[in-house]
């Protein structure tokens, strides 16, 4: 453990203040002990972002609902394994949600490719504009995204919201793999500093 670990657990998720995030960690501790009421509170706090990010990646509402249900159930089932030392509860849950969405994309793409033998990479239209509405949280994320270079912003939003692998992102942006890796990493460093997390 290094000194920055304590910062990780005091992560301020965009829609909660510091105290809210700590409450969320506490709630998960209760969930781990089988407390369904605590789980309902976790649901109320996180179902929106969970469903939202899955929906952004998958687009199909029915599939998104299905995956969101799987994710939330997984949170219930594995709350006993949540380790605050590894980051806050919101980050833990969102990591599960995003991964499950990506897994679904990969499974679906593999199935489609078996049928069509072609990988059709279509660039999603302005994802950020679509995501960003009048909310303050979104404003903050948007402001930080605006602080990136265009190639950084494009690489990060494509990578995170499209469900493409970074090889596919490189293909789509017609740059080398090394360039994509570097852009994403540099962009994330700027975002991290701008959001004041990590």
């Amino acid at each position: 453990m290094n000194p920055s670990d304590s910062d990780a657990s005091s992560f301020r998720s965009p829609s909660t203040d510091r105290r809210g995030e700590q409450d969320l960690d506490d709630l998960l501790v209760h969930v781990a002990r089988g407390d369904e009421v605590a789980f309902e509170a976790v649901y109320d706090r996180l179902a929106g972002p969970v469903y939202g990010v899955i929906r952004r990646v998958l687009r199909d509402p029915a599939q998104s609902e299905e995956v969101a249900q799987e994710v939330l159930l997984e949170v219930w089932r594995t709350a006993t394994r949540f380790d605050p030392a590894m980051g806050g509860a919101a980050t833990w849950v969102m990591t599960i949600a995003h991964r499950r969405a990506i897994d679904r994309v990969r499974a679906t793409t593999a199935a489609a490719e078996r049928e069509h033998k072609t990988a059709d990479l279509t660039r999603p239209h302005d994802e950020v504009a679509e995501a960003v509405e009048a909310s303050l949280d979104r404003e903050r994320v948007r402001r930080c995204l605006d602080g990136l270079t265009e190639v950084q912003r494009e690489s990060i939003t494509l990578a995170y919201y499209s469900g493409y692998s970074y090889r596919q992102v490189a293909e789509l942006l017609t740059v080398t793999l090394a360039a994509v890796k570097t852009r994403i990493r540099d962009g994330l460093i700027r975002m991290r500093d701008c959001l004041g997390v990590g």
Binding site: M1, S4, D5, A8, F11, S13, S15, A32, E36, F39, A47, G48, P49, V50, Y51, G52, R55, R56, E65, A68, Q69, L72, L73, W76, R77, T78, T80, R81, D83, A85, M86, G87, A90, T91, M94, T95, H98, R99, I102, A131, D137, V141, I156, A159, Y160, Y161, Y164, S165, R167, V169, A178, K181, T182, I184, D186, L188, M191, R192, V197, G198
Partner: protein
């Protein structure tokens, strides 16, 4: 070599965004994460950025979702907790290696007997699950291909026997013949590192002079296993001179 390492570092971003496809490259990076503190903290920071991106995409969930989830929760059993005796993060799940390992049979036999003892004394299902989960972890340490046996007397009398599995950064410790403590005092284990000291849990009460195995995880290079006498229910940092300080070669 230097180039290779820099190459690996550059993967922190794509790894944190889950866009590194499963495969050799991903495996290599997650392996690297186990030993690269700065990469691990970078990945943690990036995941928080990703969380902000997820929150920025928040949408009203379908109205039926809550009820479906709560109904599923009501009929779904939770995983038993992983038994760890102190809070250092473990980066990757340890692989279970069920390779019979014959060295250190004596200690192993002692440990296994104590474990079985624990099983026989588990009264509730939860307790049984807990003991089973812990047994599995302990078995993983005992059967690790690089497991090694360490033993040392304590300055207060009695001895500690340790099976150390450097590959898992875990150890299992049992003791025999430690002096009985007055009420209100406990034996506490520590991982004493060059930078910090972390509690590795309390020794359970001795049965016939022996204590059942305690598992400690997250050992880092330079750690020593320490044992002190502390006021119950244990302390955050040691308050007395260790009666044992055993170097842990990892």
């Amino acid at each position: 070599m230097r180039l290779l390492r820099q190459d690996l570092h550059a993967l922190a971003g794509v790894y944190a965004l889950d866009v590194l496809e499963p495969g050799a490259e991903c495996d290599r990076f997650s392996h690297h994460l186990d030993r690269c503190q700065s990469c691990a903290s970078e990945v943690r920071g990036f995941r928080e950025v990703a969380t902000a991106l997820a929150f920025a995409a928040a949408a009203e969930p379908p109205p039926g979702l809550r009820q479906q989830v709560m109904a599923a929760v009501a009929r779904t059993r939770q995983l038993p907790p992983e038994v760890r005796t102190h809070a250092r993060p473990r980066r990757s799940r340890p692989r279970e290696l069920w390779v019979p390992w014959l060295a250190g049979v004596v200690a192993t036999a002692a440990v296994v007997i104590s474990v079985i003892f624990g099983l026989a004394h588990a009264h509730t299902q939860a307790e049984l699950n807990r003991v089973r989960a812990q047994n599995q972890e302990i078995a993983g340490v005992l059967t690790a291909p690089d497991a090694r046996l360490l033993a040392s007397r304590t300055t207060a009398g009695g001895a500690a026997v340790v099976v150390l599995a450097p590959s898992r950064r875990q150890l299992v410790v049992t003791t025999a013949g430690l002096p009985a403590l007055p009420a209100g005092q406990v034996y506490q284990l520590w991982l004493i590192g060059p930078v910090k000291i972390v509690s590795a849990g309390l020794l359970p009460a001795a049965e016939a002079g022996r204590t059942s195995p305690v598992l400690a995880s997250g050992i880092v290079a330079g750690d020593k296993l320490g044992l002190t006498v502390e006021p119950a229910p244990g302390t955050a940092q040691p308050t007395t001179t260790p009666i044992l300080a055993l170097a842990l070669p990892v």
